[in-house]
C-alpha cells in the first residue's frame, strides 16, 4: 500500500518534467472567454482525458502481463513468472530513473515511434485550435499517448503490478500526481497571457528548479523500481505487494 502515495509523490515531482513538455500544451489551451469556471472545466476535461489514457495504459499492461504469467500454472504473486516480471519492470524503472537523474545517456525510442509521433503531433496541433468542450478531452486523450519516459517508467511498474486493477491504480496515482502542476500551468499560462508577459511564461518553463524537480522524480522512480525489483528477488518480500 505504501507504493501508491509514493507514486503520487513521484507524479508530483515528475510534473516538473511535465511542465516542460505538456505544460506548454496546458498554457496553449489557454482560458475560456466565458470566465474562470469555464476555464477550470476546460483544463479539468483536458487532464481527465490525459489521466484516462494513463489509466488505460496501466490497466492494459497490468492485465496483459498478468495474463502472460497466468498462462503458467501458478498465478500467485510469488510464482516464477511474476517474479521475473517484477525484476524486469524494476530494472526498467531504475534504468529510466537514472536517465532522469542524468546519470545515463538519454535513450530515444524505437525508430517506428517517429511515424506515430508525427501523427500525434499533427493531431494535437489541430485540436489545440478547435473550439467546443469536447476538444480539450480529445486533446488530453492524444496527449496521454505522447512518448514520455515518465509514462514508460510507470507503465513498467503497472506491468509488474500483477493485474488490471493494480496497474490502473499505479497509473491513476501517477496521473493524479501530475494534476496540480498541470492545472496550475493552465492558470498561470492564462494569467501571463492576460498580463501580456509571454517572456514570463518562457521563464517559468526554463526555471532551474524544474531540473531539480525532474531529478527528484528520477530518485522516486529509482526507489520504486528497487521496491519492484526487490519483490521479484526476495521471496519473503511478497508482503510489499499489498493489493
Amino acid at each position: 500500500m505504501i507504493e501508491y502515495p509514493l507514486i503520487f509523490l513521484a507524479g508530483v515531482a515528475g510534473s516538473w518534467h511535465c511542465v516542460g513538455m505538456c505544460g506548454g500544451f496546458a498554457c496553449a489551451l489557454g482560458s475560456d472567454p466565458r470566465g474562470g469556471t469555464a476555464t477550470l472545466v476546460r483544463h479539468l476535461t483536458y487532464n481527465l482525458g490525459r489521466v484516462t489514457t494513463y489509466c488505460f495504459i496501466g490497466g492494459l499492461v497490468g492485465f496483459l502481463a498478468a495474463g502472460l504469467c497466468a498462462s503458467g500454472a501458478d498465478a500467485s504473486p510469488t510464482s516464477g513468472a511474476q517474479r521475473i516480471l517484477a525484476i524486469t519492470s524494476g530494472l526498467l524503472m531504475v534504468f529510466i530513473g537514472l536517465q532522469f537523474l542524468g546519470w545515463l545517456r538519454r535513450f530515444h525510442g524505437p525508430p517506428g515511434l517517429g511515424f506515430g509521433g508525427g501523427f500525434l503531433a499533427g493531431a494535437l496541433r489541430d485540436l489545440l485550435r478547435a473550439p467546443g468542450p469536447a476538444a480539450p478531452l480529445a486533446f488530453g486523450v492524444f496527449n496521454g499517448f505522447l512518448p514520455c519516459p515518465l509514462v514508460y517508467a510507470f507503465a513498467a511498474q503497472a506491468a509488474g503490478s500483477g493485474g488490471a486493477l493494480p496497474g490502473l491504480l499505479v497509473m491513476l496515482a501517477f496521473g493524479l500526481g501530475t494534476f496540480p502542476a498541470m492545472l496550475l500551468m493552465g492558470g498561470v499560462g492564462g494569467w501571463l497571457r492576460r498580463a501580456g508577459r509571454a517572456s514570463g511564461e518562457r521563464a517559468i518553463l526554463n526555471f532551474r528548479w524544474r531540473q531539480r524537480g525532474v531529478a527528484f522524480a528520477g530518485a522516486f522512480i529509482v526507489v520504486l523500481g528497487l521496491i519492484t525489483f526487490a519483490r521479484g528477488v526476495l521471496p519473503m518480500s511478497g508482503h510489499l505487494h499489498v493489493l
Partner: protein
Amino acid sequence: MSATAATSAFCSHCLLPIRGRGHDRQVQGEEHRFCCYGCCLAFQVAHGEGEESEAAWLLIRLGVGAFLAMNIMLFSLLLYSGTFDQADAGVRQVVHLVLWVLATPALLILGWPLFEEAGRAAADRCLTAATLISLGAGTAYGYSALAVVTGGAEVYFDTATMLLLLFTLGRYLEASGRARAMRDLAPMLAAEKEGVTVVEGGAELRLLARDVTTGMLVLVRPGERIAVDGVVVDGSSHVDEAVITGESRPVAKTPGAAVLAGSINHEGALLIRSSGAGTATRWARIARSVRQALAQPSDAQRLADRIAGAFVPIVLLLAGLTALFWAQGGPFEAALLTGLAVLVVACPCGLGLAGALATSLGIGRLARRGCLVRGGRVLETLAGVRVIAFDKTGTLTSGTTHVTGIVTDGTPADEVLRVAAGLERSSEHPLGRAIVTAARERGLRPMLAREARAVPGRGILGDAEAEPVAVGSPAWLAELGWPVPVELAQRARDLEAAGSNLACVGWAGQVRGVLAFGEALLPESRATVQALRGLGLHTVLLTGDRAEAADRIAAEVGVDGCEPGLSPEGKRASLKRWRDRRGPVAMVGDGLNDGPVLAAADVGIAVGSATDLARETAAIVLPQGGLRLLPWAIGLSWAVRRTVLTNLLWAFGYNSIGLGLAVSGHLQPVLAAVLMAGSSLLVVLNSLRLERFEPSDDPKLADAPASERRALQQHARPQASAPRPAA
C-alpha cells in the same frame, strides 16, 4: 485527361486511383474525392486549417471515441480479471449498465462513418470491409444490450467499441503512410495546377501553371519548383533537374540560361521569361503520363482486387457457419465471439493495398528521375525480362563520327592532326569536322594552309609552309602518286579490318599518317551494359550497320551477342528468336527511327527522345543521356515485384492463419482487430521500403569495378585512346 477528371479519378489524399465508388467531400470549399474513409480523415487532418476545420472535428470524434472506448475497456478488463467476482450480482448489473451508457455514444461517434460507408456499398450491391466491421460491432453491441436488459451474465461492449476504434485508427495510420509514400508523386499530379508568380507591370500575381503563356515573366523563389520552360532574365541560382534529366546534381543557372519546367530552384530567386505555354512543357507531359500510368493497374493488382471482392461474401458466410457450429453444444456467447473474430480477422484490408501501393511507388520513383513508364503492367513485364537488345546508333553510340585512331610513319600524331586540321578548318564534311574537333580537343593549333582545294569524294589538297599537303581517301593519295610506307600500310589495313573508315594525311609527296574514324561510344554505354550483364541479363546488339563496324562497337561495350546487317524486319525476327530462346526481351532504341522494332519487343525502351509517351511506341522512356539509369530501373522493377509478392504473401498468409485461429475459437475479436490493423500497416511499411531505392548518382563510374573505371575514363575521350605512333 483533363484536370477535373484527374481529381475525381485519384484519391485526394493518397493519390492512388479510386476504384469503385469513392467518398466525395468538401474540404475548405474544394471538392475532393477519397478512396476510403481513412484517407478522408487523414486528408482533413493534414489540410484542415482554421478553427472550424472539419479535421479538428474528426479528431475530436476520434479522441472522444477513444476516451469512451478506453473507459469501457478498463471496466471490462476489471470484469475479466475477476475484480467484481466477490461483489454481488447487483454490482455487476450496475457495471453492465454503466458500460451500456458509455458504449452507446461511442458506437455512434466512431461507427457512424463506417455505417454510412457500408450503407453506400450495400446500395451499390457490394460488400466491403466496412460492411464486415459494421456488422461485427453492431452484433456485439446488440447482443450486449439485450444481455443488460435480460440480466445476462456477459456483455461485449468492449469488443464493439474497440473494434470500431482500432479499425478507424488502423485506417487513419494506413492513409497517413500511403500519403507519405505518394509524396514523390504529388507535385507531378498537380503539375498544371501549380501556383506560379507572374510579374506584370511591376505587380506580382498568382496564376496556375496551365494559364501561363509565352513571354510572361515568372518569378521563382528559392526552394520553389520551376513550373514553365524559359530563359533566365535575372538572378542566379542552382537548380535540380533530376525529374527531367535523371541527374540529381545541381546545375548553375545565370541570366541567359535555359531552364526546364519541373526543376527545383535551390538558393537564389530567378526571374524567367516563359518560352512556351505551361501545358506544353515536358514536365506537364510527364505529369500526364504518370497520371495515366497510375490509372492502369498491374495484373497482380487486378487479381488482388478481384480476390478481395470475392472475399467479403465468403467471409460473411464463414463467420455465420462458424457461429452456428460453435452454438451447437456450447454457450451462445462463445459462438458469437468466435463468429465475430472470423468476421474481423478475415477483413481483406491489406489485400487491396498490396499491389497498388508498391506499383505506384515504383512509378513515382522512376518519374522522379525522368523515367516514364506506361503503367503498372509494364513494370511487371520489365521485371521478367531476360534479354536486353540494343540498337546501335544514337543508343550506345553518339551517332556522330569521331577520330578513333591515328597511325603514323614515325611523325608525331599531333603533327599529323595539326596539318590535317589546317586543311579541313572550314570543311563541312563529317570527317573534316571530326578532324577539327579532335585537334581542338587535344589543344592543337591547326597549321595555316593556303589554297585549300576540295575534290568532292576524294579529299583536300593545299599548301602549307611552301609544301603541298593533302588529306583524303587512300585511293586518292595513291592516284596523286604519294607512296605509303610499308609498315604504315599494314597498320592501316588492320584498322580497316576492324571496321574503321580511313583518311590519309601527307605532305612533301609522302603519306605521313592515317586517321581512323568511327562512331564514338556514349560514355555510359560500357558501364550500363556491364551492369546489365551483372544482373544476369543477356545483352545483344541489333544493328543495320555493316559487320566490321558493328563488331567493333560490340567488342567495345562488351555485349554478349551482335547481329549486324539487319533490316527493321530482321530486327523484329531476331527479337522473336531471342524471346523463344531465352524469354521476354526488352529493346532499347532512340525511339526515333526504330518505333516498330520497339513495339515488337515485350518492353520497348526509348532513350532520350522522350517526347509524349502517349505518342510513343515505347513503353518506357528514359531521359536524354539516361541509358545509365536502365540497370537501376530494372532493379527497381524487381524490388517492386518482390514487394508486391511479399505483400500478397503476407496478406494471404496472415488472413489464412488468422482465419484458422478464429474458426477454431482461439482468437478474441479485439485481438483480431489489433492484428487486422497491424496487417495493413505492415503492408504499408513494407512498401515504403521502396522509398530507399535510389540510383547512385554517377553510376557510369561508381558501379563499374576499378579496372573498368579506367577504361571508361578513356572512352569518355575517345581520341585519347587512339594508338600512339611509336616515337
